[in-house]
């Protein structure tokens, strides 16, 4: 597949920590507007891959391109975030001593400098945008509460809401339903499908039931490289995948 029409393009990426190859010759291409689920056992390199894309870790070798021709290995975390890549962490990380609304306010796309923040005045458009995001993540009635008081599932949604507010082109979502009830999981799947309508999304997940609900193309990672790729039925029928997940 060509690099030009891709939103995310990884080719021959490797990174090792103290001799341990966390990512080994990984290649992955995503089309703009695509939603992709990444599965794989613990230590398969899923989180390290996210770290490389978001600039937290620099690859030892290989190419990482965003939106066709932006070389991500040349940018740091805040630049990459401003280029339009949003990330949701495995453990929900919201700003707990701020209200739900303020969390969205801080994430809202706009200038990121200290002076802009110092003299910032909320506009009517911003206010409307915040309101619509709060509705979308079902937290409108808790806007004034401290994020620390939210349940685990609500924190996950708030973090997804913060991602939406950033208006990224590409969202990386790490285990969004870990520790959620079934009802919350379903709600989250709905939310992600809604988002995928307008943006590219990468979802890392363990929960096969949830991946099935998403109904998208699946990539299975193992020991730092791609083991299988395709629809969930295709991937889960693959013998090597079965061996990695069940056997050994």
């Amino acid at each position: 597949m060509s690099r030009q029409n891709s939103i995310l393009y990884l080719d021959g990426v490797s990174v090792s920590f103290d001799g341990f190859k966390a990512i080994n010759n990984l290649s992955l291409v995503m089309q703009a507007g695509e939603m992709r689920a990444i599965i794989g056992p613990n230590g398969a390199g899923k989180t390290t891959m996210m770290d490389i894309i978001t600039g937290k870790t620099r690859p030892d070798e290989g190419e990482v391109y965003f939106d066709g021709d932006i070389d991500l290995t040349r940018h740091d975390e805040s630049e990459i975030a401003q280029l339009g890549i949003g990330r949701k962490f495995q453990k929900p990380t919201v700003f707990e001593s701020h209200t739900v609304r303020d969390n969205i306010v801080m994430a809202l796309a706009g200038p990121r400098s200290a002076t802009a923040a110092l003299f910032h005045r909320e506009s009517a458009e911003e206010n409307a945008r915040i309101g619509s995001i709060l509705d979308q993540i079902r937290l409108a009635d808790r806007a004034g509460e401290f994020a620390a008081n939210l349940s685990h599932g609500q924190k996950q949604w708030l973090e997804i809401g913060m991602l939406l507010a950033q208006e990224p082109k590409l969202l990386l979502v790490d285990e969004p339903v870990a520790g959620m009830t079934d009802a919350e999981t379903e709600e989250t799947a709905r939310l992600l499908r809604e988002i995928a309508g307008t943006r590219s999304v990468v979802v890392v997940e363990h929960d096969m039931h949830f991946v099935r609900q998403l109904g998208v193309k699946v990539t299975c990672l193992h020991e730092g490289s791609v083991l299988a790729e395709g629809s969930l039925d295709h991937v889960s029928a693959d013998e090597r995948v079965i061996e990695v997940y069940l056997g050994r």
Binding site: A81, Q82, H120
Partner: protein, 396 residues
Amino acid sequence: MRFLAGGFDRLATTIIVVLCIVAVMVPVLHLMLPPSSPFHVQTYLVALIGKYLTYALLALALDLIWGYCGILSLGHGAFFALGGYAMGMYLMRQIGSRGVYGDPVLPDFMVFLNWKELPWFWYGLDQFWFAALMILAVPGLLAFVFGWFAFRSRVTGVYLSIISQALTYALMLAFFRNNMGFGGNNGLTDFKDVLGYDIQAAATRSALFAASALALALGVLLTTAIVRSKFGKLLVATRDAESRMRFLGYRPENMKLVAFTFSAMMAGVAGALYVPQVGIINPGEFAPANSIEVVVWTAVGGRGTILGPIVGALLVNGGKSWFTGALPEYWLFALGGLFVAVTLFLPRGIVGTAQHGWAALKARRTAARAAASSQARPADPTSPAAPATAGLAAAE
């Protein structure tokens, strides 16, 4: 300016009004009433409270970066002392030919060291406007350079505290040296005039007192405006989850740098107001223990609140003045014990605990009122479960 208007929330306005009243009333009671009157404020008290007010401003400066941004500076006394030295140099130049050696330009200690001309960094400090500029610029610039390297290299937590401590210690050693040109271990003293007025005169002392109170009021206004702005929210967010800020596209190091530089300038102003009121500045002001004391004031009063550092600075220093009079040998034990006790039993500090308790009380009252009103209408068909849940909330 709309930014400043953000600084007038209810608490800040109250503090500012009180400080303005103090700025007027203390000088009036000092100057207008005869010493025999029971309401007369004695000279030593004007100087003492004036000094405490500059300490309060220093504590407020530290609180902005420690309480709101999580940077525990153990070297904030350095910025205070630098502001003090800039003021002290101006006051030295004001002495003119009235020094012991009668040199029209050189301060006494330079004549004593047999220096022939004024070092370049003493130029311009005979002008008040230039001194005022230096009071802001020198601490601000040092903080900017220090912060630039420290925050960019992602030095945080205890490591940053240690370097800031080393910074003030290094400055202390440097200022102790005679050939640095700042009066060595004697420092700068024997001031005569400030802005042409006799520094010992009751009216001048009163004016310096009023200036300290007003500077603190301005500090409260600016700090509140900063804390309540979006920038202030970003500071707290940086304190709580710095790496998350990066993934939102912010540069936390820049946020810290702005706050740190502003805080250092505030500390410089506090130092500049402190020096004419105590009549001396020497390298002892750079002592690491001084900076640690500022941290104790802030912790006792309540970090992360506007009122806390002010209350802490006034209470601890009031206690110190009483203690060093009554039981001088035990003051340091008392200070250490106080810090341990506050950390263990009152981690939010006095003001923080009070505010937290007040908020909890209000929440309980609201819940109780909701319970009472829903019990008054038991037949409300729309919310059959409301009395039960509200009752639970009230019981909590």
